[in-house]
């Protein structure tokens, strides 16, 4: 006769649909009813990056953003891109955005449009300043393969991007003419936003050869890979996943109190925190059942 399953065995082999349902509830409820959490800024990563950008020269500061985010990285990387653009616009830093992969073009453009509209709406109410495409920011688009823009921007940006994403002549744009932007020497820093190792490629080719500072926005799961570069000083700070983005949003809120833009990462932290806690509890329950079952089996064998 087949031995009846113990309660511990039953719990360990619980139907996966029940787990899925629990995860769904834990994820969705905090999205509908978010709870406030005080965000503590990590100084070596988020704080260092914020200070580096904040200390660009206000008039001629130029920040090149390599926005290599895909729809699947959107919850973590998109708020970072939005925060970087907001910070630059607040400080009157010129923003150049490029993509190394075509899948990123849509999100990069969406972020630029979103922040530009945000600023211009505020300017209409008499708060803050207005931003203009071609004067304050430009969207360079995409040129394959990735190594071409990474190395080419060190020599002459117009060889790689003669026209912007919309097909307008880049050479005649006020942002390029007024700030004399030609290559990395005329830029203050590169911000590489990616779920892969793209920031390391920028370090290896753009920083090692042309000496430009590099910072990164990465997914939480890949953050551990980038710590050696923080320690060696090759990365000027970094944003780690949604928490890093929420920290950056917190800093923007502190430094620019009139910024009423949507804080997407901070909103998402409730759901992420609840899910993390749920995963930890599930692992603990799974292990508890495992040890109890082993105890039952040991008793039986004795």
């Amino acid at each position: 006769m087949q031995e009846e399953k113990t309660v511990w065995q039953k719990m360990m082999s619980v139907d996966r649909r029940i787990i899925y349902l629990m995860v769904a509830v834990v994820m969705i409820v905090p999205i509908i009813f978010p709870f406030d959490q005080p965000v503590r800024v990590a100084e070596r990563t988020t704080g260092a990056m914020f200070q580096a950008i904040d200390n660009f020269p206000n008039e001629n500061g130029v920040f090149l953003i390599s926005a290599d985010l895909n729809p699947q990285d959107q919850p973590e990387l998109y708020p970072m891109l939005v925060s970087w653009i907001r910070h630059c616009f607040h400080r009157d830093i010129k923003v150049l955005v490029l993509c190394l992969f075509p899948a990123s073009l849509g999100l990069a453009e969406q972020a630029l449009n979103q922040v530009a509209t945000e600023f211009n709406n505020r300017a209409a109410r008499g708060v803050g300043r207005r931003v203009v495409y071609g004067e304050d920011f430009v969207f360079l688009g995409w040129t394959p393969p990735p190594i071409v823009p990474i190395l080419g921007l060190g020599e002459n940006i117009f060889d790689v991007f003669p026209r912007d994403f919309y097909g307008d002549d880049l050479r005649t744009m006020p942002i390029m003419v007024d700030n004399r932007i030609r290559n990395y020497r005329n830029m203050d820093m590169i911000g590489s936003l990616s779920a892969s190792s793209t920031p390391i490629t920028y370090i290896a080719f753009a920083q090692a050869r042309f000496g430009i500072r590099v910072t990164a926005g990465i997914t939480a799961v890949s953050a551990a890979d980038f710590y050696p570069y923080i320690d060696s000083g090759q990365l000027t700070g970094m944003l780690e996943g949604m928490k890093g983005a929420a920290e950056y949003e917190q800093l923007i809120a502190e430094y620019f109190p009139h910024d009423d833009g949507r804080r997407m990462a901070t909103e998402g932290m409730s759901s992420q925190s609840a899910t993390h806690i749920a995963i930890i509890i599930m692992i603990l329950i799974g292990n508890f059942c495992y040890f109890m079952q082993r105890r039952v089996e040991n008793r039986r064998s004795v």
Binding site: Y20, Q72, D73, A103, N121, A124, R130, A223, P228, Y290
Partner: protein, 316 residues
């Protein structure tokens, strides 16, 4: 011969790559730029053609042989054809030759002014005789520089131009809240009725991207969380000391990601940071040095022709 020619090209270009990296003289840099910005772009373009050809061949074969899940190959091929067609003729934002506009506010331009209309018929009426309808008092705004439409031609409102237009209008109507109402009322010079802004929809690459790729990509990745939870519950067991250390470290790093947890346990943040800064850093460095040495050795073997796997199979 089939192997010697690619190996010779590879050897010369690999040595050149090294020289150009370390020699900063202008002629060397210029030639390097020429190779990179022109030759590499051409090679990249041909690689895309080769990749497309290979993809089409693979899926055609799958359909012909009725291989497992052959039906999905049709989805791939249809998506490829549609995307290419829209990209070539519809443009990135639906401003190509393809008449792909299915909505959007109808706008017309005349003598540097932009007018809004209820529908396409009104627009056509206006365009047939703009002089009789054009009333600067009923103009929506001056023609934005970015629109650059010739006099008398109709202007369709793309998503990008809509954003520009909204900014312009927003500035003209200071104090107006865009978030609640997308646009202030616009008077049609033809019928005199109020035109309201409608969301435009176009078959463009951007529309395909936002309508298909973004939701599909997000859904695929979001499903990972469910699988991960299920797998962690079933398989993450503290069977021995090593698994125990891994489990405890994972808990600390995960809890450190939760702002609320670091409020109740203040030292958790520092402990998480220590794990990432010390044990993680040491192991990562070791791995990176090993990978770097391995990659260098493999590169030398390829340059010197010892490693030939990259050439693929085939006869000499």
């Amino acid at each position: 011969m089939k192997r010697k020619i690619p190996m010779t090209i590879m050897f010369i270009l690999a040595i050149w790559g090294g020289i150009s990296y370390f020699v900063g003289k202008t002629p060397v840099r210029n030639f390097d730029n020429l190779l990179r910005n022109r030759l590499l772009l051409i090679v990249g373009a041909f690689a895309i053609i080769l990749g497309l050809g290979s993809l089409i061949f693979h899926h055609s074969q799958k359909i012909r042989r009725k291989a497992r899940f052959w039906q999905y190959s049709y989805v791939m091929l249809i998506a490829l054809v549609v995307t290419t067609f829209v990209g070539l003729f519809g443009g990135v934002r639906g401003e190509g030759r393809l008449p792909t506009i299915f909505g959007g506010t109808m706008l017309g331009a005349h003598e540097g002014k932009v007018y809004a209309f209820m529908n396409r018929d009104e627009l056509n009426t206006f365009m047939s005789n703009p002089a009789s309808y054009a009333d600067p008092d009923k103009a929506l705004m001056d023609l934005p520089r970015e629109m650059d439409a010739p006099e008398g031609e109709q202007v369709f409102l793309s998503r990008y131009h809509a954003a520009l237009l909204r900014q312009e209008i927003e500035l003209q109507h200071a104090g107006y809240e865009m978030a609640d109402e997308p646009i202030p009322p616009m008077i049609s010079p033809v019928s005199g009725e109020t035109v309201r802004y409608r969301a435009d929809f176009k078959i463009s690459l951007q529309a395909l991207y936002e309508g298909i790729m973004v939701p599909c990509g997000s859904t695929m990745f979001a499903m990972l969380a469910f699988y991960m939870c299920s797998a962690a519950y079933r398989a993450f067991r503290m069977r021995n000391l090593h698994a125990g250390i891994l489990l405890v470290s994972a808990f600390i790093v995960m809890l450190g990601q939760i702002p609320l947890a670091t409020v109740f346990i203040p030292w958790l943040h520092d402990l998480r940071q220590w794990i990432l800064d010390v044990p993680n850093l040491a192991s990562k460095r070791g791995i990176m040095i090993g990978v770097g040495l391995g990659a260098s050795a493999t590169s030398f073997k390829i340059i010197l022709g010892i490693e030939r796997a990259w050439l693929g199979g085939g006869d000499e």
